[in-house]
Amino acid sequence: MPNTEVDDAFAALSSDAERGLLLSGPELRRQAGKRHNRGLAVTLSAVAVIAVAASGAGWSLANSSNRETALPPAENSSPSFSPPPQPSSSAPPSSSPSLSEPPSSAPPPASAPPTAEGPPLPKSIPAKALLTKADSRSDNFARLDEARGVPEFCSKAKFPSRDQKGVSASVQLGYRKAGTPAEYIPDDLIYDTVTVFRGQGAQDYLGDLRRAVQACPSTKDAEFDSLGSLGLGDESLMIKRSFTATDGEGNPVDNGSKTVTFIAAVRIDDAVTLVESVGYENLGSEQAEIEKVAKVAAGRLDDWR
């Protein structure tokens, strides 16, 4: 019977996972305190985590019966390590299921509620999660009464992730890049929308955006190109939007020139911050500036969520 094969295979995997090493709870908390910031600081502190581990402190077998047992330094562990003891009917605490039994015959985990719904949704998106007036370097800054919807692509672009949307908010900023005098018009008009999703909606949203670019490479109004990841958050995506340039009156410039704007989406856990430049009046956007703004927006979201 096919499912017996699958049951047995998962039982073997569960048993094999007992070879894994995890930090003890107190050690993990201690290291977590050091790793509050991301980026380079994370990498450097990770070295510190391992330095601690290499000195023989804090690591223990994933097998729950050995959970509190610190292992010797890694370089000494392989040749002399004995296999973990087999769980007996009396040894494991009641809250730790036996790892060597097939999942089909083991009771469900005691602490896994049958209807998990993911992390709780916030009641609203706080201002600190979004770009701020200071980020705009202008007085043209406002929180919108209603959050913006998904960016416009074409009719083939579908966004089923919309159904998993939880809470959302948008700000609009007339953006001046560093060095633009205050008396000048803004360099760009930018919207930042932060949305927290249910379940895997945030991942799905990034997927929907990628598919939208593929489904709508060229429409009568605009062309879309994916510029790939920005290397921000858990995942990110930069999209270039090109359309026929217009003059100050909004009439198409009949010389083939294009105006370019950008959409940058950064996901952090269950939330996405989407920076959408639309250009100030008939002007376009600068990619490097939008990348800078997206990085700031990702930082705001990360600090909050």
């Binding site: 894994g20 994933a62 959970r67 209807t115």
Partner: protein, 168 residues
Amino acid sequence: MRDADGFDEFYRETSARMLRYGYALTGDLAEAQDVVQEAYTRAWRRWATVSAHPAPEGWLRLTVGRLSTDRWRRLSGWRAAVRRAGPPEPVGPPSEDAVLLTAALRKLAVPTRQAVALHYLFDLSVADIAAEIGAPVGTVTSRLSRGRAELAEILTPARTPEVTDAEH
């Protein structure tokens, strides 16, 4: 003030099975260790929120799922540092049966792999999985059915090739 004892107890009770889940999703126990530690690190950073949720383990599963999917982007710098510093690798080589399953799981689409792992490792029903990942019940049913069939097809001939031959 975060409840350290509560977190430690939760970690002690759930981290072993979370490691199995990460192992099934990533196919590599060392990567699963990284992913699971990162997930619990995030949980501790927002423990007041996570612990108040009716399903903190569901929260962890979602986080492990996301990190496993994005692990190269998310953890590449961390992994590089870890490898340079000489991390504790999992003890001993993987078992042959575990290798067979992880290789088979890697052939499944990520959402299918996730649904199958949630079902077999946590004994979650179709409705529970659908609620947790925010997908329709029909979609999860289809993923589970497809995943079981594909796994069975991959695993069966690998273990008993003579049976396959005899059927022809």
